[in-house]
Symmetry: C2
């Protein structure tokens, strides 16, 4: 009895460091999620002239966050929690793998933050706000030179950041780590090189059959909104934890353990843009909703977070391309579209309209065949800008040259060209490959999903399609939740793929999927 | 030359303390405005289950704000800035009245914040979030007892707060200071006592003629929204600095020096509710827009802030009652309403519909005659709860008794009765009288405005009406900007009224205005 009580006392004592660290992380996460709330507001409600004060708010939060994430207090809390959990493991033989992984990841981030000068953090936050504003102006006025100096400044600051971080990686690799932990340029080349030849070949094949007979039509805003609501309702949206809004660029963001937001936009003349963006962002949101937040328990901890942006994209692309753009989905959904006035007579009509397979200038509106090439171009260019001495002023020329070579199209102006994406204006370098990695991961995970569904007795050539045809997408979601989402950052992206599929990540499943889809579209 | 340089150096040196304080206040204001942004989001976009995490974010910010507002660093900065500006005044003979007033107000607030225990600040923030959630539940389920314990807790905490503040004022007066600086219960009685007899007399008169023949009709949401947009466009809304949204309770809030937000709501069966709420909240926003922010200069300083909630209400009530509910406005606007399907044949029809003069149970939807009585009841009750020993559990009975006595109506349930307002659920005590003070101030300021307009040559019995009839509301706004808004907190509410009107605040202009309006409605 007496011993038991002493043990209990010791336990509650030894549990103190962990709880203290938890409290500290929680406050950091409060600040981080406030940052996200301001970002959401900025893009959905804020009037335009408010940008400058909002920039100050965000810089101030960035400064506070950096202080917390690099403080001696934080360092000591991690150290004490580590000692405590070791002791616990020794005494009680408890499995502390999760705890250790959490602490490792925290320490990694702490080391990074400590190396950064806080002045640089504030400069970067300010340069990002300025860069975004100038990019918007430049894009609206098709005037690259307005944006070029800001881009140069952002590159300089990011190079300085990589310098301060002083990792055994190249500049671009260092900057890519927050998006894609452990990624190297070497590995990226291994994965992407086959695509450089195979994608143009597939595009050439597609051209021969591509939908010349596509009708030009549109849907009004309220119809598009209705279809999006219908989609999310059928996909099990819980309104008590999700909010929808409009923004110039669709995005998905998490503001709290029970607070998931997504946006979409209506693009004139493109009746599927809003619908597919909704499917895409909902996929992102489902991943976040499926993370091991466990009633806040890991919300503030690394294990409660997404493991990489590539995995994130794999989830959004799954719902956009494998589900919403599938023949089975079109067969089920085309009547809703025609009820809203779309000139469609069958599921086949809708399916063909949603899969035009025509290379264009715009990444966001690109089809599945050409999307990868848009990414290869951006990846090459940002590596060149950051570590191969490409001059900012040569960017438009280089951009147009590569589009001609790889996609056979040339932008009429820079707004359609190198000014089209927001990423560089916010100083995000190293993000683009995640989009293409997402395609690869989605395809490879889908193969494993098909395998599982067959084992569970789902019949047919295409078990994913069968589930969709029956309106049973919840089955697909359950698989993703059980096999993919719950890991959080326990494993990195490639480890995750290996765990789930039993194989290393490769581009073959993606290429097989594309070839198959092309064949189906050709023959139908 | 040499002397000049030395002087310059001294000046920039002596200007250092002021600048440091400015920097400090700016960061405090960044935090404060972040708090406002979260509040806006909470009421316009946030999904319901996110409330608990949002509560933690707000408590965290409240703690940070309190730390900043009570720190020794802040205290020293104020002291140094004061010494510096005295020196400046002595040397250069500059008028430093504004600087001194700013420093006095900062010091007052610092003294208050320093007296407060930070634990109490966090407890209060948490109790406010909880209280709000429980009040919502209680109101929806018409179940006062669900809310009563939370209300009791909020009262206890507020009493504790008043204790800690330890001012030479009663508990209720202490809590009313942030809303109405320098207000006393004695002065409030002087101002309000005549209303206790005069308002019921006017209501009795009105009953004899009140619009029995009012048609029951409604407008659909999109029509209501269209009319609100039209109103704000005609009143000169600048979309680059203002945003509109919907929320369960209409409000107006400022998120930055160029960031003004307002909300409205659509109430079924009440076709003017949305429209008049828009006019009301726009009046609040115009006051904030007219404060001496001067390109951020005073935004973080007391002089850049509203002087009292009573003055704030006077501005919202001016635009709602003196303008939107005027005969002249109806004459100009009725066709827009009938174009949207309202069954109206003249301006007179619209005017009568917007001024029903029927005492009811609901404060927010009350007419101008009975509004004051709603406030008197609340003011009496909160004084009784806070410092006269009224038991929380007796609140429903007391509420209903007073409604019967003063307004001759009895709520069918507590949702229509003592649960109708949000204020107490958030622990706001001392706010309600500001609404009625606003009526008084608006009426007295309007008399001064009429006098000025006549001097400027605007003809007719009712120069305000003349301007409205011509669609020249901008002239009224200019007067308010020049005579009222720009003072910020240079003067308190009563001083402001005396400055602008040359007389002490009294209830006579308000009563005269009501009598006159009643006469017009009776005779038309």
């Amino acid at each position: 009895m007496t011993l038991g009580l002493i043990d209990q006392a010791k336990n509650s004592l030894t549990n103190t460091s962990w709880k203290k660290l938890d409290g500290y992380l929680r406050e950091t996460q409060l600040l981080g999620s406030i940052h996200n709330a301001l970002y959401w507001d900025q893009n959905t409600s804020m009037p335009s002239c408010a940008a400058s004060w909002r920039g100050e708010q965000l810089s101030f939060l960035a400064k506070c966050l950096h202080t917390r994430q690099s403080s001696t207090e934080f360092e000591n809390l991690i150290k004490e929690a580590r000692e405590e959990s070791h002791l616990e493991a020794l005494k009680n033989g408890i499995d502390i793998n999760n705890k250790t992984r959490n602490l490792d990841l925290l320490e990694l981030e702490l080391r990074r933050q400590k190396k950064l000068d806080s002045k640089l953090v504030v400069h970067l936050a300010t340069a990002q706000t300025e860069g975004y504003a100038l990019w918007k102006e430049a894009k609206e006025n098709n005037d690259f030179k307005r944006f070029a100096p800001a881009l140069k400044k952002l590159i300089d600051l990011r190079q300085e950041q990589a310098n301060q971080l002083d990792e055994s990686r190249s500049c671009w690799e260092t900057l890519a780590q927050p998006f894609e932990p452990d990624l190297t340029i070497k590995r990226l080349n291994e994965l992407f090189i086959p695509l450089r030849t195979r994608l143009p070949e597939l595009i050439a094949k597609a051209k021969a059959v591509s939908s010349k007979n596509l009708l030009k039509w549109d849907l009004d805003q309220s119809s598009q909104q209705k279809l999006c609501e219908l989609l999310l309702n059928q996909w099990g949206r819980n309104k008590e934890i999700t909010s929808l809004a409009r923004s110039p660029h669709p995005f998905s963001i998490t503001l709290g353990p029970q607070d998931f937001r997504l946006t979409t936009r209506v693009v004139e003349g493109q009746p599927f843009s809003c619908f597919l963006a909704t499917a895409h962002e909902w996929g992102h949101s489902l991943y976040e909703q499926g993370l091991p937040l466990q009633n806040h328990q890991w919300f503030a901890w690394p294990l409660g977070q997404a493991t990489s942006m590539g995995v994130h994209e794999s989830q959004s692309l799954f719902w956009e391309n494998r589900v919403a753009r599938s023949k089975a989905f079109s067969d089920r959904f085309w009547t809703y579209f025609s009820n809203e006035g779309a000139p469609l007579n069958s599921g086949l009509d809708l399916w063909k309209s949603m899969n035009p397979l025509l290379p264009g200038l715009n990444r966001v509106e690109a089809d599945e065949l050409s999307y990868g090439l848009h990414i290869l171009i951006r990846t090459d260019l940002e590596i060149a800008l950051l570590q191969e001495g490409l001059d900012v002023w040569d960017l438009p020329t280089e951009w147009n040259k590569r589009y001609k070579e790889l996609l056979g199209v040339t932008p009429e102006n820079d707004s359609e060209g190198c000014l089209q994406d927001v990423h560089w204006s916010e100083g995000s370098f190293g993000y683009f490959p995640s989009y293409l990695l997402g395609h690869l991961i989605s395809a490879q995970l889908s193969e494993a999903m098909i395998f599982s569904l067959r084992k569970e007795g789902v019949k047919g050539e295409d078990p994913i399609g069968e589930c969709i045809r029956e309106g049973n997408e919840i089955k697909l979601l359950e698989w993703l939740r059980n096999e993919v989402h719950h890991y959080g950052r326990q494993v990195n992206a490639e480890q995750l793929v290996e765990k789930v599929t039993g194989r290393c990540l490769s581009c073959n499943p993606f290429l097989n999927y594309l070839e198959n889809k092309l064949k189906m579209l050709t023959s139908s």
